[in-house]
């Protein structure tokens, strides 16, 4: 990762909404984005996390030229979103609206052909590209049926295929696995990882923390229109004022606890007797992954028997909750339905 391929500088977006109270209309300014500055590097897999209404969709819409920011600017693949809109659009493959954005009376193939023309892909190249995508995404079974007959998951896969049509260097995926069944979501994640390995820059929003942890090299958490945390998952977890805990159960000679306590990085060891000479140690440390080999070595060297080891790490969900005061999964489940109706939420 060297140069930023996406750069946002002091992006702000204010919406004017109308409130109706007791028959009277009142205008209200809603700051959806507040002075957001962000770099995403060429070849990076970047995750954008945030509860509904946090500003992620607004940020993505500004980066994809669907919205003009109130102030600030952003550059995508070297092109300004304010001045070089067509070049920005040509640089991005997008999946923003889930299964929306498809023509239901056209087949999957006809949809891809239509959007391929809008991306200026020459007819011959387009036909080959569509066939390649059909093979890659295994669209064969339903590809030549009209979209109205598709399941939600099939529509999502087609929408994903649409985002790959122009083979753009940047792929922006907004909750791509949201209505997919588990095997299809797993397949899509594998494909996205593969595309990333091939050199594509990926901007990915999700409310599934395991997805973010599995896929993203860096993560940004956005809330109330501001980026409130930015870094690798490990950096974000390390920024938490909370210790990792590793539970180790087994049979431990008396001096083991003192030896473990003496290890640099260990802040606390709690011992709980489990019966039959077995005990459970709850070892707190700043980074359990780094500490684990040394812990095991120390315990085994002293003639202990280990029955199981269970690390309890700080997760991205913990980071998210600490930063926003909300659980991402719960927040999305409660308000997610609102985004479907209304042309996409402003979140």
């Amino acid at each position: 990762m060297s140069e930023p391929i996406i750069r946002a500088e002091h992006l702000a977006k204010t919406f004017i909404s109308k409130e109706r109270k007791k028959g009277a209309k009142k205008k209200k300014a809603v700051e959806a984005l507040k002075d957001v500055s962000l770099d995403i590097y060429d070849g990076e897999f970047f995750g954008l996390l945030g509860p509904n209404g946090a500003g992620k969709t607004t940020l993505i819409k500004c980066l994809t030229t669907l919205l003009i920011p109130t102030s600030g600017d952003a550059w995508v693949n070297g092109h300004s979103v304010l001045r070089d809109e067509d070049e920005v659009r040509a640089s991005i493959g997008c999946m923003l609206m889930g299964e929306r954005g498809l023509y239901w009376k056209l087949t999957g193939r006809e949809n891809l052909n239509y959007f391929g023309a809008l991306y200026h892909i020459p007819k011959g190249v387009r036909a080959k590209r569509i066939n390649d995508l059909s093979s890659l995404l295994e669209l064969g079974d339903f590809f030549d049926r009209t979209v109205e007959t598709y399941s939600s998951g099939q529509k999502m896969i087609l929408a994903f295929a649409k985002s790959l049509l122009n083979d753009a260097p940047i792929l922006i995926l907004d909750e791509p696995t949201v209505t997919m069944d588990v095997p299809t979501a797993r397949k899509l994640r594998a494909l996205v990882k593969d595309l990333h390995r091939q050199g594509k820059t990926i901007l990915y929003t999700t409310h599934l923390m395991h997805e973010a942890e599995e896929l993203c090299q860096r993560v940004g958490i956005i809330d109330h229109g501001e980026i409130i945390a930015l870094g690798t998952a490990a950096e974000l977890k390390a920024s938490m004022d909370r210790q990792d805990v590793v539970e180790i159960e087994g049979i431990f000679p008396g001096h083991v606890v003192e030896d473990v306590r003496a290890l640099a990085g260990v802040t606390d060891v709690a011992v709980k007797a489990e019966g039959n000479g077995r005990s459970k140690l709850a070892i707190s440390s700043s980074n359990s992954r780094v500490m684990l080999p040394r812990l095991i070595e120390t315990i085994v060297r002293n003639g202990s028997t280990i029955e199981y080891v269970k690390p309890q790490e700080v997760t991205l969900e913990d980071v998210f909750m600490a930063k926003t005061g909300r659980s991402l999964a719960v927040d999305t489940a409660q308000t997610g339905k609102q985004e479907v109706r209304g042309g996409g939420g402003r979140g």
Binding site: G78, T146, G343
Partner: protein, 292 residues
Amino acid sequence: MAVAVSRGFGLGRPGWRANADIVKTVIVSRLKIVSRYKGMLVMEALLPIMFAGFPLLLGFAIGGANAAQNFQKNTGTTADYKLYMLIGSCVFMVVTLMMWLIGYWVRREQETGTLESMYLAPAKRFYVLAGVTTYAFIRSMMIFVIALFLGSLAFGVNPLSGNVLLAFGFISVGFLPLWGIGFLFGAFILKIKEANSVIQLVQWVVAFLMGIYYPITFFPGWMQYVAASFPPTILNDGIRSSLLNIGNLFGGGWWVPFALLLAFSLILPLLGYEIFLQTERRLRRTEGVGQY
């Protein structure tokens, strides 16, 4: 500034071939969509016959056997009042379908999310709009031909006795101002996010101004000027005067309404497109084009 990585398709400037491909693909896709709604075209083709049928029967009920002579005497046009009204109804169908299809297209694309999908692509809106308006014109001309054929059989008139070639010339030139009006109408629907009530209102205003059942010389003086400066009125008058071999509204030869339509052809598409772009830009500054 972010680094430029040149990969993928579409980063180069598109040539005329790519732009023509957009227009063609949009037309073909729209025609495929409409063909998958069974019977729609035939049902639409019956509408102008109904439009013409009402005044014809009313006229016959009032004028009786002298209806044709009365019509010619009162309007100073032709005794073939059946064909006069049938042509007016068919041209009205073309005009209203052009507006209805554009308005409905914008609204439907907003609702289904395909408008945002379109805005995510680098294609110039002009070519997409050109494709949609051309599709609308092709569809409305299919209705025009079917309705004129069936209507002629139903009312026992012959639309081919006049100057068909000239009528075709009027249609070819009149298509471009209708493009422009389609763009303007699309911009309006994009802004107000409501198509049905506007279409309902506008189509009756258009029907009134176009003079589908009567010559606009029936209007008070100022209203005649308003109606005569409306391209659909000139188109209607041009086609009617060609097919019925009667004089046109402007008193001169055929070239007078033809030249007026040509002038509108140069102005209205550009004006309509510019207003569409301005509306779109204003929306992207406020709420986004996909908000509905």
